[in-house]
Amino acid sequence: MIDLRGLVILGIFITSLLAYTGYRRRRTIAFRKMRGFEELGRAIERAVEAGERVHLSLGTGSVIGSDSGPALAGLAVLSRMATATSMSDKPSVITAGDGAMMVLAQDRLRTGYQQVGESTRFQLTAGRMLGPTPFSYVAGLPAILGTGDVTVHVMIGSFGAEAALAADFGERNGVFVLAGTDDVQAQSLLYATATHPLIGEEVFAGGAYLNAGPLHQASLSTQDLVRFLIVAAILLGTLLRTFGVSL
């Protein structure tokens, strides 16, 4: 038996991704401003200029689970961040709560350094696992944020309620905090604690807003297309159900 409904939705995603990727090469699409990412650019510039460190947190999600999504988005941001900060006196630090995710962060960082011809500056310890459980991971953050040389604290990964503590540690140290995750409850806590919270699906938009590649920008257009389709489907389904049609 085949779940046609799911396959159709998957097909819509893939087709529109490819179509928008091709379309973007001819026409350009404007996206709404997102202050968080704009400020992130400035903060990174400032950090690079002042020889300060940038910290990217990939959260406590695993690589093999459905909570890997935001961390994958975080890795896309990392690839851009690595090139941007490669000339800084103090290289970026990437932390994760999962061993495999940490290895991915190291690989991404290495690739980013190679892209700017700074592969010699790459250190394996630039990608770290702070702790294997959510709270032990958060407990490791003060050691990184409290040193004084970290001025940009970016959290793009999967977090639970402990995200609020992670952001609070940053705020308390007076650093720039940009935080986003997929867990809705954690988003609500970040909305209160982080200076620049990323809410909802904004956490997945980092790659596009930091220009990690054409497919990232096509992804946003795809998300909007599917969004409209879902809205239409829900309205239609509501009408059908109201008139007694079972779906």
Partner: protein, 872 residues
């Protein structure tokens, strides 16, 4: 026109000799190369026109190329030139001094050699010995591959040779000698134009703009000139003839009354001829490859630190313009630009240092400055650690001819690999800083792609300085960048092409403007983003040209305009420095902490305040208790412990009330956890409740342990529980210490093969994600088995929709302390929930008060500020 000096700032014409611009006050004088008359220089005309400067530059380039083509001659040539009397000893001394920069000697040699032509009608005698001797030495010293090239070139070029009016050479000579004799500065001034890579001189007036073209184009003839000694003038004649041969092609160039135009045309022609040769044989481009390697090396090195700088404008250019038309347009603009500003070369000398930094010419400049003992400007060293390696590497190649034999042709091929087959796209390779941009950008694409391009394998074989450009390896196609751009879509499907994770900095993505802005990595603005690059501004055409019809604003120009707009805006709002909150005492935090601690401690210690127990019973409560009452006692219930120890204070309290009823009814309980520390929490909680009801481990309850793998493991477990969990946790022991049973072979689980064999599945979760995973992933495998959610207070809103749906995926829900207290009340067994009630109530009341105070304070400040603003 030639006498007048165009100001680099305001572009207004100033009378000759003016020190500073009469209109904008920009400094002009130091940029002028004083053509000091010198008796010792043969054929020197009393008044050397400015144009000789340009020619000198061109010839310097020419000379530099000769060193590239006939590296092995370099060492010998100098003394022999000396003997030939072609140059004065101090000149030679300075040349040796300047030697490492490798520009001086050949630059001196060429005009000197050419300078005697006018006096000796057809075959310049003075030149012959000077050229013959090294020429004689050449075959002995040059590697075979080079001699083969020269032979082939000789055959190819011979038919085209014809005499040609001379005079420019003498001017060249004058201009060059004037600079050489003049103390350091003029030399240093002349050198940038000659020593900079192609891209370096490109933005200058025709003489400059085409300077690179000239020497690149003249490269092979110059090599050949040293190979074919008998006709020492041939080489000179040859390139002149080449140039003459291509005037037809130059009809595309708008006729320009300015004196420089014919020369420009000729030099372009030279390039044409050379290009055709280049395409004809890969070997011929060895010397060129040498040059390119140096340029690329410098560029790539410099870009190693400044990828972002070059990424945006060029990629935008490449992506949006998309191909040769644009490339041609750009190039034609450059050409026209040159004809527009005949005298602006001198004006732009210093600017050029900055403009060309990106192309790595600063490496060379650094070398030169060091060699003449002038302090190196800070900015010059900015470009990065690799910055100073380029030139020495380049020179070391010159000094090691043999060694380079094999690698050079390889490099040449690598460079030519990306070379457009048409001559016209070639000129962009000479456009200012474009090669640098291209080298890095596609290189980045390559590396982002996995750097799986051939250059990776070449890397091992090439010396460092040749390996440098590898970063832009695929981008070796400097000018070919455009070619690549227009070929790619034809060869690759757009979607596939787009999947290459190349960072495209499109200025049209409004939101990305900040991030896209170029990042200056040299000069006083180093590190700043959004700095307007000098070159494109200087290179901005001032008047429409023949391409006017096609001259709609290109993406690159649009990007620059946008950038300028941003910079102007940025001026107004300064970047706020990060506030140092750490310096302030956290008074608010202390107050909040004190109030909350007090609110919690008082009820526990003093017993006040005391809060009445909830009287309202949640509408979810009775269905849940009814569900538990209906549970079969012959089938175990599966309890998922999906929370971290941090939440045990809440979850033990809430779940305790629920499990108390379940175990009180004698329903066997099996625990499983999706968190490493979950099993230990399950042991704590179940042991405590079991002790209260006299239930023994192994028969009344059991721990399956840790289910590793997160949501994926939940799927495995749902599909086949016995395959997912192999071993139990805290396996019960008989009095003699023997394990009574393992995980799955305990009597409780004997009848359980599938998830639907359990009597109930209850998920005790502190978060929403895993609770949703169980509701979504496991529910389909559960059949009619009820799914109960025991939740932390914050998770309820996300799980409730599963419970309230018309086809519920969750059959019971218990969330938060008030519900737990109500549950204990309904179950007539006051437990932990009751003991937490008073401190919980007090802390919540304090929290509400503080939040309300915060709202009022914030609103007051808000209103005050908004009220103050209008007054101001």
């Amino acid at each position: 026109m030639g006498e007048e000096i165009r100001c680099p700032m305001c572009s207004k014409l100033n009378p000759p000799g003016t020190e500073s611009c009469a209109f904008c006050g920009a400094r002009l004088k130091p940029l002028l190369a004083p053509a000091a008359p010198d008796e010792s220089s043969p054929g020197l005309s009393p008044s050397a026109p400015d144009r000789s400067e340009e020619e000198a530059a061109g010839e310097d380039w020419l000379a530099r190329m000769r060193t590239g083509a006939a590296q092995d001659d370099l060492e010998e040539d100098l003394p022999k030139k000396g003997e030939g009397g072609g140059a004065s000893p101090d000149w030679l001394g300075r040349l040796r001094e300047v030697g490492p920069a490798d520009e001086g000697p050949p630059a001196g040699e060429v005009p000197d050699w050419l300078g005697e032509q006018p006096e000796q009608a057809v075959a310049p005698a003075g030149a012959e010995p000077g050229d013959e001797e090294p020429g004689g030495a050449v075959p002995a010293q040059i590697p075979d591959w080079l001699s083969r090239v020269r032979e082939r070139q000789a055959q190819e070029v011979e038919p085209a040779w014809e005499p040609e009016p001379e005079g420019e050479p003498s001017e060249v000579d004058e201009g060059w000698l004037a600079r050489i004799r003049d103390s350091g500065e003029p030399v240093g001034e002349g050198l940038p134009s000659s020593g900079g890579p192609a891209g370096a001189a490109a933005p200058e007036v025709e003489g400059e703009a085409q300077g690179p073209t000239l020497d690149w184009g003249d490269l092979t003839p110059s090599g050949e000139r040293e190979a074919a000694e008998a006709a020492s003038v041939d080489s000179g004649l040859s390139w002149r003839e080449d140039s003459g041969a291509d005037t037809g092609w130059l009809e595309e160039v708008p006729p320009d009354g300015e004196p420089g135009t014919p020369k420009t045309a000729r030099k372009q022609g030279v390039q044409e001829g050379w290009l055709s040769e280049l395409e004809a044989t890969a070997d011929e481009s060895e010397g060129l490859a040498d040059r390119r390697a140096a340029d690329k090396g410098a560029a790539a090195k410099w870009l190693g630190n400044a990828e972002i700088v070059v990424e945006k404008p060029f990629t935008a250019n490449e992506d949006e313009i998309g191909g040769p038309e644009a490339a041609e347009a750009e190039w034609l603009k450059e050409l026209e630009r040159g004809t527009d500003e005949p005298s602006s070369r001198q004006d732009q000398e210093p600017a050029r240092v900055w403009e060309t930094a990106g192309e790595g010419s600063l490496d060379w400049l650094a070398e030169y400055d060091a060699s003449i003992g002038r302090p190196q400007p800070e900015e010059v060293e900015e470009p990065g650690p690799a910055g100073d390696e380029g030139a020495p590497g380049w020179l070391s190649e010159i000094n090691a001819p043999g060694g380079q034999g094999p690698s050079l042709p390889e490099e040449a091929r690598t460079a030519q690999f990306e070379e457009p087959s048409e001559p016209i796209p070639e000129p962009p390779e000479e456009l200012p800083h474009v090669p640098a941009l291209v080298f890095k950008q596609p290189g980045q694409a390559a590396s982002a792609q996995g750097q799986d391009f051939d250059l990776d394998s070449i890397e091992g074989e090439l010396p460092d300085w040749l390996g440098e450009p590898k970063a832009g390896g695929t981008g070796g196609e400097a000018g070919g960048g455009q070619a690549g751009a227009d070929l790619a879509p034809a060869t690759l499907p757009a979607w596939l092409e787009a999947m290459r994770p190349i960072s495209t900095f499109r200025s049209v993505v409004d939101v990305a403007e900040e991030q896209e802005a170029t990042l200056e990595s040299a000069g006083p603005l180093a590190g700043l983003r959004g700095v307007l690059m000098a070159e494109p501004v200087v290179a901005m055409p001032r008047a429409p040209t023949i391409g006017a019809a096609k001259l709609e604003v290109t993406e690159r120009q649009y990007a620059q305009a946008e950038l300028l707009h941003q910079i102007v805006e940025e001026e107004e709002r300064e970047l706020s420095t990060p506030d140092k909150r750490r310096l302030r005492l956290p008074m608010l935090r202390w107050v909040v902490s004190a109030v909350m601690l007090l609110a919690v401690i008082l009820p526990i210690t003093v017993g006040t305040p005391s809060f009445s127990l909830p009287t309202q019973v949640s509408r979810d409560l009775l269905p849940l208790m009814g569900l538990v009452n209906d549970l079969p006692v012959d089938r175990p219930s599966l309890i998922i412990f999906d929370f971290d120890p941090g939440y045990s204070g809440e979850m033990d309290t809430v779940a305790g009330a629920f499990l108390d009823q379940v175990m009180g009814r004698g329903v066997p309980v099996v625990s499983l956890s999706t968190r490493p520390s979950g099993p230990a929490l399950a042991v704590n909680l179940l042991n405590r409740i079991a002790a209260r009801h006299g239930v023994s481990p192994g028969t009344g309850y059991l721990h399956l342990g840790y289910l590793s793998g997160g949501p994926a493991a939940v799927q495995i477990f749902s599909a086949s529980p016995r395959d997912a969990v192999h071993k139990g946790f805290d396996i019960p022991e008989a009095p003699d210490g023997e394990e009574t049973c393992g995980g799955w072979d305990c009597p409780i689980l004997s009848g359980v093969q599938r998830l639907s064999d359990f009597g109930m599945v209850a998920v005790i979760s502190s978060g929403t994600e895993n609770a949703r995973v169980w509701a979504e992933q496991a529910h389909p495998f559960m059949g009619q088995v009820p799914l109960v959610m025991v939740l932390s207070a914050g998770a309820e809103p996300l799980i409730r929709p599963y419970y309230e749906a018309l086809q519920p995926q969750v059959n019971g829900i218990l969330s938060g302390l008030p519900a737990a207290v109500a549950y204990e009340q309904a179950n007539l067994s006051p437990g932990e929930a009751h003991s937490r009630w008073n401190p919980f109530g007090a802390a919540l009341a304090a929290t509400e008060a503080m939040l309300a105070a915060g709202v009022i304070y914030g609103l007051a400040r808000w209103l005050l500020r908004t009220g103050r603003l209008p007054r101001e």
